[in-house]
């Protein structure tokens, strides 16, 4: 059976970006279809730790070669922070948004200086925060280990339950008229005059605007329209403990090492920080690296010694749709009118912002934040843009 259906917008990718965008578009009574090769929030959006990073991100993941431009991201982070409050208000389901506040710790003088520098940038961007001496930090969080010399507290940091928020946005979008097609795979994409034609395993669909929010598969899908970019996806791993009574009221990060620790609403402690799994197996399970596990957990015990006696329940890995320059991607694809993409770094934190921004770009309005430098053009091969819209199969 071949399905034929027209809609205004087709979204490829049922992760958090697809779900939040579907919600924004259907709210404006735009006819939207969303296609995913498996199920809602199954890949990176389900595997993520779910942190909301509002204070400047300074740290590199272990193995990350290039540092991201953390100053550039600050206006986007504060904008996203506000939109998360709106999302919580708008969605009827509890997405477990918790503004725990976040502590970034330093263990040496040099690291301390980096915190002070970072704080200056945040003040310029209007992000609230406070520098804490080691004594002040320990008064706030007595669990901190002896090695902590300086810390910064930001009240806006927190987390959202990733297993709740993506399905919640998706369900709300469905109530607003979204057509959701899961377990369907895009086979090829072509353009006839101003219409995009998306051929899948189960049918063929046309639209005037096409959005690709397929995380680490973005380059695969873009290659179907002749756009060649290179994503640098990595598989990173997370660790989760047994449930504990409330003990860690903050998201704790490290200024110089990949580390994030928090206690989620179910009581478990989630420990991550972007440590790599053994390898990336896209679409399958990437095997956990024992070295990353011991490295990540050792560091966690150094900063929060009580974790020593806590039982580890499970670990898992998930693909992160990173780019070579470790920055976000958002915008219309140059040379391919009506084709939009979003992804890259901190897609989870930026999800509500990217949804609003894409909505504005699709409706040819001026977005609330300037994203002109975050387009995909910077990652495209020179020849790629020329062939945009041509389809090799049709």
């Amino acid at each position: 059976m071949t399905l034929m259906s027209d809609s205004d917008v087709i979204i490829i990718g049922g992760g958090i970006l697809g779900a939040s965008l579907a919600f924004e578009l259907t709210k404006e009574s735009i006819r939207v279809q969303l296609i995913d090769r498996s199920s809602v929030g199954r890949e990176g959006s389900g595997a993520t730790a779910g942190n909301l990073h509002i204070q400047a991100v300074h740290t590199r993941r272990p193995g990350q070669v290039i540092a991201l431009d953390n100053v550039r991201l600050l206006p986007l982070q504060i904008a996203a922070s506000r939109l998360w409050d709106d999302a919580e208000q708008e969605l009827p389901e509890d997405i477990e948004l918790r503004r725990t506040g976040g502590l970034t710790v330093a263990e040496s003088e040099l690291q301390g200086e980096e915190i002070l520098l970072k704080r200056r940038h945040e003040i310029e961007a209007g992000i609230p925060g406070e520098i804490l001496s080691s004594d002040e930090a320990r008064r706030l969080l007595p669990e901190l280990g002896d090695s902590v010399q300086l810390a910064e507290y930001c009240p806006l940091d927190g987390y959202v339950n990733p297993l709740k928020v993506t399905p919640a946005w998706m369900r709300a979008a469905i109530r607003q008229g979204l057509t959701l097609r899961t377990h369907d795979e895009v086979l090829n994409i072509s353009k006839v005059s101003s219409s995009w034609i998306v051929k899948t395993k189960n049918g063929q669909f046309t639209c005037s605007k096409l959005v690709i929010v397929a995380g680490p598969w973005m380059d695969d899908i873009l290659s179907m329209v002749g756009v060649s970019i290179r994503m640098n996806p990595v598989a990173i791993q997370m660790h989760l403990t047994e449930r504990l009574a409330p003990r860690l009221p903050f998201l704790v990060q490290h200024i110089a090492e990949g580390m994030s620790i928090k206690q989620v609403s179910a009581g478990q402690i989630m420990i991550g920080g972007g440590w790599p799994a053994q390898y990336l197996a896209l679409g399958e399970t990437s095997d956990i690296s024992v070295e990353s596990m011991t490295g990540n957990l050792s560091q966690a015990v150094r900063i929060l010694p009580f974790l020593q006696k806590v039982r580890l329940l499970r670990s898992w890995s998930g693909a992160l749709g990173a780019t070579a320059d470790e920055m976000p991607i958002i915008g219309e694809v140059p040379g391919a009118e009506g084709l939009f993409v979003a992804g890259g770094t901190y897609a989870f934190t930026f999800a509500p912002l990217w949804a609003k921004t894409l909505l504005n770009l699709i409706l040819k309005r001026v977005p609330a934040v300037d994203v002109s430098d975050l387009g995909i053009g910077r990652l495209m091969n020179a020849s790629g843009s020329q062939r945009a819209g041509d389809n090799r199969n049709g």
Binding site: S39, I288, V290, V301, R311, R314
Partner: protein
Amino acid sequence: MASESRLRGRYSEMKATNHVVIVGGGPAGLAAAETLARSGVLVTIIDENPDLGGQYYRRRTKGTTDQLGDYRIDGTHLINSVKKLGCTVLTDSYVWGISNDKHSLLVENSLVGKSSRVSFDYLIVASGGHEIHYPFSNWQSTKVMTPGMLSRLVTIDAIEPIGRRAILVGSGPFLLAVASHLIDSGVAVDGVFEVTRPYRVTKFSIFALFFPGKCLLFLHYRFKLLKNGVKLAQGSRLRSVQDSGDGIIATFDNKSGGESVLVESQLLGVGYGFRPNSELLEALNVTREEPTIFGHFYPKVDRFGRTSQANVFAVGEVSGIEGFKSAIFGGVLSGERILRDIKGSQGLKSALITWVHQLRSIYEEAFAKFLKKLYQFDLEDFPNLDSGVLLCRCEGIYASELDGVLSQSESDMAYVKSETRIGMGLCQGRMCGTALNILVKKKCPKFVSSGFSVRMPFRPVTIGSVIELESVGTRDDIDV
């Protein structure tokens, strides 16, 4: 430094002698260990219990032994032989993970709460199985346990009195064996309720024809039940248990319809056969057989227990062949196969042993397959759950929470898990995964379910213990 080089020397020496690590000290693991150690191979056995023996050869405590004598003395001989042959025995130790290169096991000693790496050249997974659970109303009652536990209480532990009366529910010949154990120890059996319909004359004539010895054992059990007036019901599904005074009332329905049946008793043993403790094999990515109706993972193995991964063997219950005799034959065969590998050739005696054990294991395996067919499940053997049935004990999730989740067309295990938290608790879905697999299959028949995927640690382990592994070196490769 001196000690380090000495240790390194010891390690390379071990490499040269081919270190075989056996996970599980039950009949299969013990038989493999004895076969190998007798020929001078360096063997380490890892077992989570305080002593070797597994489920079948579980040791009595010293007090009980002094009072009642030894239990299953052939097990005692086997254990003593393995110890005398110089095998390294790591008890109270469980394997919770596998190194990146898949050549070292990550093992925690639960007494000291520390982990270490145990590297192997050959690995024999003989980790056994545990009883299959399917929930019903009020299964969490303290008067409900597995048949295996009931049997253990009256035989190995010989705790008296556990109660005056009991009923046995579920499936498989094991229920008959346990009924017999209970009767022998003075517990009245108020009925054996088999959910499938294996006990038919047509089926049993095949039984008697091909497996006369086994059939005699069955008849022995059957006559014992008859003599003691024990009812043997077939096609009965357990729906609920109510506590009543110091006893229980169990409610059964029949899958082909008819009135519900109420049975009064004191204790209830319920189990649907055994499932493999397959986490390690899954983590090693060995090729699996088609998932069972429960989604359980069985490795594809040859006659010697060889899996798809080089030098990794699976024998005994975990390989899907039930029965302690098969386990022993499987253990011997895997051991002989490794010996042939190491030595490059096989002596006459060894070849003869291999040949005889192959023949016997073919017979045992044929019988195991016959039993699987005899007690074949279908989805209707497992009723849909009433809303008040506890499904996931670790996370406290009731069947009602599946409403609206299971009705969706795309409800696979991962989806249900993330929507409901079923399987996210301490046991990582070991208990509830089986039932959920059935429920998902009932709702979406086309869906191919393969259970929850395995994740490290296979069982909870303290973070302090995990980070012990960071001190990588030769020292922690093995603690001989």
